[in-house]
Symmetry: C2
Subunit: 444 residues, 2 copies
Amino acid sequence: MTETRGARVVVIGGGFGGLETVSHLKHQPVHILLLDRKNHHTFQPLLYQVATAGLSPAEIAAPLRSIVSKQKNTEVLLTEVNGFDLARKVVKTADTEIEYDYLVVAAGARHSYFGNDQWEPLAPGLKTVEDALEIRRRVLLAFEDAERQAALHGHHSDINFVIVGGGPTGVELAGTISEVARTALARDFRTIDPKHTRVILVEAGPRVLAAFSEDLSASAERQLNKLGVEVRTKTMVTQVLPHEVHMGEVVLPSSVTLWAAGVAASPLGRALSQNVDRAGRVPVQPDLTIPDHPEVFVIGDLATIKNPDGKPIPGVAPAAMQMGRFVAKTISNDLEHRARTNFVYNDKGNLATIGRNAAVAQFPKFKLTGYPAWLAWLFIHILFLIGFRNRLVVMIEWAWSYLTYQRSARLITDEVGRLREQLRSPDSHLPEPPAVEVVEKRRA
Amino acid sequence: MTETRGARVVVIGGGFGGLETVSHLKHQPVHILLLDRKNHHTFQPLLYQVATAGLSPAEIAAPLRSIVSKQKNTEVLLTEVNGFDLARKVVKTADTEIEYDYLVVAAGARHSYFGNDQWEPLAPGLKTVEDALEIRRRVLLAFEDAERQAALHGHHSDINFVIVGGGPTGVELAGTISEVARTALARDFRTIDPKHTRVILVEAGPRVLAAFSEDLSASAERQLNKLGVEVRTKTMVTQVLPHEVHMGEVVLPSSVTLWAAGVAASPLGRALSQNVDRAGRVPVQPDLTIPDHPEVFVIGDLATIKNPDGKPIPGVAPAAMQMGRFVAKTISNDLEHRARTNFVYNDKGNLATIGRNAAVAQFPKFKLTGYPAWLAWLFIHILFLIGFRNRLVVMIEWAWSYLTYQRSARLITDEVGRLREQLRSPDSHLPEPPAVEVVEKRRA
């Protein structure tokens, strides 16, 4: 067993799992180094609110430094991890190696295009603040384009939003976009005819929200329809083109296509294990470590493990947080020379929001749908938001938009011009050099 | 005189001048078309708060559509104007021509690098929300870099912020960055030594805030020094390089260089007049029109005109707003066949903020400095913020950060990866094709 007095704990990833590990080691005699590519924790359950112009990034993201600012045994470093040397117990970054006694890898997941990565620019997913801002930009620009057509030519072509994937993210995006299109934006864009706005949710499986019971899936589909969303289950997307989504023979015109289908674990998984699963997740042992390395933990969306009852543990925030707490507990056990235990996921229930007054909630003892489920969702998500200020401001924003049907963050920011400048700029502050080369092109 | 019943008024630019024109024509029997490249009005006096992580973009920017949503005679179009055919009375955009009976050009200004445009990526200015986010990113990354050095190697090189230009923007940026570096960020970044953070304000002229009286300039300089800013007047910047600013023989190392010096009017000015001044501003007649075109008004930072007393009218928000109201009044006079009058700028006073409790205020009858000036500034800027929600949220944010020394929006969003994707993306929604080409480069 590692000598653990003043042990050096390196945590990779400031998501739900990583932060829980860190905070539950607060009173232990360890040195914690929290590494992340971003300087902020993103409260992913509310990202769709940023994507639909309801909230601003700063209201759902908190700087990692301020989160741990009171925890003296923890340091935050903004850096990208490239790999590991498990034998020498070091983490490799672009410019240095970082030693550890304990390694906790909580690097999370991105979305997967099932081998069709060329679809990504055409159908962005929703994992980061940048994703959310890009989706917001595309959604708002779709309406601006239609308004310009209508104003200049007296009519506009249909506005179709195609959301691929009927999981929680796809459902909340479809429901909210449809609701916003018929309320806030409908008022903003006077000459646009809401009848010409379609929101289509495409799901390959037999039902939306497959993680929920069948009756809740059915309820979710009804609630989606009420919000004006067309749900197409048992439908596989075969091709994504600019403004077109192919499903076998069927071709849907699409103003904006969004991707909420597959999940792909961080590439760091492959640096840790030869036998990752199809989603790139690392199979971990009952104590969440990898074989032969009791000092290396993998948690959250990057790990795959079954509960004692044989059920796979879902890639949800509560599971990641429970894993984080378990790892902190296990390291503490080591420190106090107590035996390790096995991780058991305690499923406290599952919530999915659909839109205004619309949601489903599945608890061990009971279920909720519609308004009560939505209230439960609202309450729990404000409760778990990190930072009192965020809770306060988000409550105000939500009360405001609930009463006025206004969305507070309907801004389109043109990042392209900005990027052009950045790529040209020799500014060494740029995040590690992107694998692109910029060539001035003389305009004909 | 133009036939004005149901006259078509085209307003270019949703800044202070354009919006005042629009809102004061609310009850006139005209059709108003408001054209802007952006979908939002930016409250420029508070942009520096976004650049210094105190506020979020949505808190100081309001969608143009929601601002005019209650004004039935007004339409907003998101489009870029390329030029005019004054003889045929049409505005030219990329995809169409737009006819007008009255044209109000309020396209504003960008910053000028005095012929050294290659400095722009090295020393961004502060005119748009995108500018502010880029400055925020660079300022925060400078501290992150130092923290990483300190954590991995035990020491970090100096953090130098060089701000070029001692006008209101340069002064508020310098003062706020210095204040934030010594309070909010100093706490976030434990291992950074604030003694190694320098903020240098460089001004070519003999004093900062030249628009104010000499004693107020002197007071501003003292207040800047109190906040830890080094002020260098009578100093001309001769060269800007990555992390270096040259002033003749003197070379300052610079982690982040910001540009708050010259102003260059929108290129649309040259499309309106042969004899624009050195800043590209259009000389206008006493009724703010251009010669031989009583139906074409130019206002705000794009216009240059002297007051009857011979004083040039400054490029400030109050002047632009008064011009906007005057144009609305003039068009109304035409409608009611009343004679036109001449514009007179009524200088109600001048305020500049420097930092926490630090500002200067010059009113016709009295002057303020320090805390009272700062309170006056605070009050007036919350008062003039567009949208009740913004006023409420900004008040909360300010109270919060005043009491806690926290900055609520300390987010670094990595736009490069996002932009790389966008440049690849065939998404037709993208703003005009950027003059760059992205080539995948195989890493050696």
